[in-house]
Symmetry: C2
Subunit: 225 residues, 2 copies
Amino acid sequence: MKKINWKNFKHAVIATDVVIFTVIDNELKVLLIKTNKGPFKGKWVLPGGLVNIKESVDNSAAKHLKNKTGLSNIYLEQLYSFGEVNRDPLGRVVSVSYFALAPNKEYQFKTTKEYDEIAWHSINEIKKLGYDHEDIIKLAIIRLKSKLEYTNIVYSLLPTEFTFTDLQKMYETILERKIDKRNFRKKILSLDIIKKTNKKTIGGANRPAHLYKFKNRKLEVVEII
Amino acid sequence: MKKINWKNFKHAVIATDVVIFTVIDNELKVLLIKTNKGPFKGKWVLPGGLVNIKESVDNSAAKHLKNKTGLSNIYLEQLYSFGEVNRDPLGRVVSVSYFALAPNKEYQFKTTKEYDEIAWHSINEIKKLGYDHEDIIKLAIIRLKSKLEYTNIVYSLLPTEFTFTDLQKMYETILERKIDKRNFRKKILSLDIIKKTNKKTIGGANRPAHLYKFKNRKLEVVEII
DNA sequence: CCAAAAGTGTTGCGGTTACACCCATGT
DNA sequence: ACATGGGTGTAACCGCAACACTTTTGG
């Protein structure tokens, strides 16, 4: 990794930061890394980094996501650009933030020289983060909640096959409210966005549940809730 | 104006571009300037410019808005950041775009060395613009339509006092559909966001209309339509 | 047989839509 | 008197919310 002397920059530089969400045990989590250098040494921050002059900003976000977490091919969309003058104590950095959604799996996260810890954090247990990254996460949560209500984006948090209860719990966790089971099933089925497979869950100490799949695993605008 | 040699930049630089909307004669218009230099000489483009290292990105947008159009204190919000590598033929420029809303008035626009024409353009009559500014405008229109439906943002396109018909026409123009007059009045009144003044329109060859004011001239989230 | 989660319909309410005529003013 | 836009109420419909019991499996 080439060392960067920020003081050499006469102009604002551009970075990308990615808020990566997943849901584990009915809790919304965000992926953070613990920096071991710079003014926020020892603090948890969002994965991200500078935008190379030869890559698009979107590519930069995808690249940093991949490099720091190993994740790729997950849902990624631009969130907002943070451009306050003093948001980075080392220089003028404008951050184009992104938010990403990952299904809950056993990921093998990498560490590098810049950080030696990387972990999921419950959004309720986030302490003081470096930079303005708490603001970024807050905004990302608002965006996520909102998109959940008017798109099928939830598919990107679920595995390919899931039960109706999995789906409902996802909404309940993120929207932080209970939803009536019968009304929920009625609504989702009427939207014609998922289809029943001929498989069922096995091994539970109770009645097996049908497994469903999304008909389209790409973003669609649908009034879900 | 200091001359900028783009080739000197080793890193991407940041610019802001502003999509300024108004409604004139039941048409949605956007304010464009005609550049007289650079690769898009003679083309219409959005007002905007580079972000200074000592100003926030938000300030930069407000400043360029003011400098190039004389407009200030109007509604302004960040839209999206455009970061493709080749969007500016002279160098690597990432544009943080904004959209602004102005009531229809007789503005005295300024011209500078960089452009000698500045004018409102109907969004239906926009030809080939410089840069990716058509994309920016398209996105801004989507955002505007959407915000019109779930906020009181329309206040920023109207004068302080307006008739119910003015208000309804604003919606009909931007959303591009007819709205039932009685249902519209019922809905707006039930939201309790405007109040009747004791004035009426004068001089029309017909029954005078009551004038209304917004109770709050700041952004609120309300299900309007 | 018991525990645990899956699965299934009906009713009432409230908000949205559709729809047509009289009113106040200027010419 | 007539042309023009201002201003008003009601009924049907539809989507949403509230609500409880039976089924299927494993232990």
